[in-house]
């Protein structure tokens, strides 16, 4: 288990191979279209969806605006309820804290609830280096872990795999991790789920340490909330003696009552259900019920940098529902791996460059991984204007682009274009020149021609448009000269 997103190529390069992978395309198209249609139906059931969405947005904005206050309140509440709170400024510190907490229990195995935060900080890899095996227990995470693969979706990390690929992974790898797959395993989803149940049951029953994230944390009461479907979360949250929850600081909500908004928004947006099968809430520790030691690790890891950006901070409203992935035409064709982080799709394209910065080629390419079609904004349950943030981050890339050749040249072109557009007479002359040369431009340019990058990229798959003899501007001028009305 050593695969990470480190060293991935920029988005366009990674996406190129995905677009040519027929199986991957078919898997993704089937899965995203299925879930997006279901979501639309689940949302249509509530005639006050727009108001819920607005309230969700406003509650998150209010919380972010007073984040320091609510985190301190949360810390006090959790502590009063018997939990212990740790603060981690970055991924390395969070991993160090968790590793030490696990070591203190004397255990070398932990069971994990699916958690985006622990994927982001690459906790499993850090634990492995310390000799601790972390077992993912969500079915899709299990598929990814057994397949030595990377997650490609927030909700359904193995969305890129179809049933027969999953069967093969289970047959090949389960035996190396514990109970092998049953003989004669078919690719029926129910049988695959049964195989996972049997494989994981022994791990749940012997686990002494559980690791989770949280969907929400309630400042007023110190309550943590996890939404899930399979019951693996309940297993990890209640059976072990020690529970360690690793949670991003933006996950806090002020009050218990605020859940009434998010428990309506999240299930319908993510799994397209009225309610997910299981939601667990816990407040510190309870005598005789569930873990008797509870640690909360609050993670910054770039979130405060994101908060400092007045346009980009809205990304911190995200409740990780993945509705934006399921409607995104770019995600559907590029696949999740191309985004090079735990957060794929439109939300990843605005979150990753803010959490990690735009210094690497990959991170600088993410804000451009969108046609700005706006489908993501439309379905976002907390109204994150993803296209707005994408364009805003492109500015950060373009402005910081002096040392990147591509953006230096591009910037010069953009400025020259503006000059031209600010001089209509010059523009008219260019148009006339193009019109005069139109006969020389074929639909498809010769392969040998030393074309500038953009023209070649365009012409590789599309014919160039035919240029008109005369621009509108010239036609209009002549018409005016003739006297209007012709």
């Amino acid at each position: 288990m050593s695969r990470t997103f480190v060293g991935m190529p920029p988005f366009p390069t990674a996406a190129r191979s995905s677009t040519k992978d027929g199986q991957l395309r078919a898997n993704l198209t089937h899965a995203t279209h299925t879930i997006r249609d279901k979501r639309a139906k689940a949302v249509a059931e509530l005639d006050d969806w727009a108001e819920l969405r607005e309230a969700g947005k406003r509650i998150k904005d209010h919380t972010l605006r007073h984040l320091d206050h609510y985190l301190e309140q949360l810390e006090a509440s959790v502590t009063a309820a018997g939990g212990q709170v740790h603060w981690a400024a970055d991924a390395a510190e969070a991993n160090r804290i968790v590793t030490e907490l696990v070591r203190a229990t004397g255990e070398t195995e932990v069971v994990k609830v699916k958690s985006m935060a622990t994927q982001e900080i690459e906790l499993n890899e850090a634990l492995a280096k310390a000799g601790i095996s972390a077992y993912e227990t969500d079915l899709a995470e299990l598929i990814v872990q057994l397949g030595d693969d990377l997650p490609s979706h927030i909700l359904v990390p193995a969305i890129h795999k179809n049933r027969s690929e999953i069967r093969d992974i289970f047959q090949d790898a389960m035996g190396r991790w514990g109970r092998p797959a049953p003989e004669g395993l078919t690719d029926r989803p129910a049988e695959l789920a049964e195989a996972a149940r049997l494989h994981l049951r022994e791990k749940f029953l012997r686990a002494k340490v559980g690791i989770s994230g949280a969907n929400f944390m309630i400042a007023e009461t110190g309550t943590l909330v996890v939404l899930e479907s399979e019951g693996n979360g309940r297993m990890c949250l209640t059976l072990p003696e020690t529970l360690i929850s690793v949670v991003g600081i933006e996950k806090v909500l002020p009050r218990w009552q605020d859940l009434e908004v998010f428990l309506q928004l999240l299930p319908r947006s993510s799994t397209a259900e009225r309610m997910n099968p299981y939601t667990s809430t816990w407040t510190g520790t309870s005598d005789g019920d569930g873990p008797q030691r509870f640690h909360l690790v609050l993670v910054d890891n770039g979130r405060t940098d994101t908060l400092a950006d007045t346009v980009g901070r809205q990304a911190l409203r995200c409740i990780r529902c993945s509705a934006c992935l399921n409607v995104c035409p770019v995600y559907e064709r590029a696949g999740g791996h191309a985004y090079g982080s735990a957060y794929p799709g439109p939300i990843g394209a605005i979150l990753t460059p803010q959490l990690r910065g735009v210094e690497s080629e990959l991170d600088a390419s993410l804000p451009y991984a969108s046609s700005l079609c706006g489908a993501c904004y439309e379905v976002c349950p907390v109204a994150i204007d993803i296209p707005e943030v994408l364009v805003h981050l492109r500015e950060r890339v373009a402005e910081g682009g002096g040392h990147r050749d591509g953006h230096r040249v591009e910037g010069a072109v953009m400025r020259a274009t503006t000059w031209l557009f600010d001089h209509p007479a010059a523009l008219g002359a260019v148009e006339r020149a193009a019109g005069a040369m139109r006969g020389l431009v074929p639909r498809r340019l010769p392969e040998k021609l030393p074309l500038p990058g953009p023209a070649k990229a365009w012409n590789d798959s599309r014919d160039l448009p035919e240029l008109p003899e005369e621009s509108f501007r010239d036609w209009w001028k002549k018409r005016e000269q003739r006297g209007s009305g012709e």
């Binding site: 898997n27 899965a31 299925t34 509530l46 005639d47 006050d48 108001e51 607005e54 309230a55 509650i59 209010h62 605006r65 007073h66 320091d68 206050h69 985190l71 301190e72 603060w87 400024a89 510190e93 079915l139 359904v156 193995a158 969305i159 049933r163 129910a190 789920a193 994981l200 049951r201 029953l205 309550t223 479907s229 399979e230 019951g231 693996n232 309940r234 209640t238 009050r255 218990w256 859940l259 908004v261 428990l263 259900e273 009225r274 309610m275 997910n276 099968p277 299981y278 939601t279 667990s280 407040t283 309870s286 569930g290 609050l298 910054d300 405060t304 940098d305 908060l307 400092a308 901070r313």
Partner: protein, 218 residues
């Protein structure tokens, strides 16, 4: 500077552009909430029907009984039909509910000896609940009397849950004020399920694969 101080300081710096009331504590109640507190009418019978419908829609098996005196018969019959040899019994479960359980069925009272490993070989568990939500088809357990510690309703593969009329609310906003966040809660909407394989919903992974609900009408 500790990481705690460092993170809090970064937050305050990040929010330098935002006008903030430095003295008064922020008021989360001031956030406007234009949504409904219910999408269903006030009629208890209609709310109960909606609950039954939504529970069934997510594959819980719903059994209607006229009043509480009929619970024992229903529970006895369901355990017999399942062929359950062992049933876990939470503290404080009304004794009447188990009055018609077959004599050969072993009852296991809650206690430290009823470990997860022991529960793994228990056939069924019978509980009440704290609240049931009609619009979402959700049962909420809060580990109070008659519901048991969380593992009790998690490890056995068959869960029978009895809902009294007074425990039913229409909506999520109506449910939360009735629940004490200090108690550990499990919200259950149908049996365990996954959609991780090609987004096809499959019932039954780790939690109880069969959820039977005994709904008392009156």
């Amino acid at each position: 500077m500790s990481s705690r101080e460092q993170v809090l300081a970064r937050i305050r710096t990040a929010l330098a552009d935002v006008p903030r009331e430095s003295e008064a504590a922020p008021d989360p109640a001031a956030v406007p909430r234009g949504y409904r507190t219910t999408h269903t009418g006030e009629d208890p019978a209609a709310i109960r029907e909606l609950l039954a419908e939504n529970l069934a829609d997510y594959r819980a098996i719903v059994h209607r009984v006229g009043d509480e005196s009929e619970v024992a018969g229903a529970v006895g019959r369901l355990l017999a039909e399942r062929g359950s040899k062992t049933v876990a019994v939470p503290d404080g479960l009304p004794a009447d509910w188990l009055a018609e359980v077959a004599a050969g069925t072993e009852r296991l009272a809650e206690g430290p000896e009823l470990t997860a490993r022991r529960l793994d070989s228990v056939d069924s568990v019978v509980t009440g609940c704290a609240v049931a939500i009609a619009e979402t088809g959700t049962i909420v357990l809060d580990a109070a009397e008659g519901q048991g510690r969380r593992r009790l309703t998690l490890v056995p593969d068959h869960h029978i849950c009895v809902i009294r009329p007074g425990q039913i609310v229409a909506s999520v906003p109506q449910a939360l004020p009735r629940l004490d966040p200090r108690r550990p809660q499990t919200w259950i909407s149908g049996p365990s399920a996954t959609s991780d394989i090609e987004l096809d919903r499959v019932e039954g992974v780790h939690g109880p694969r069969t959820l039977e609900v005994v709904l008392i009408d009156d």
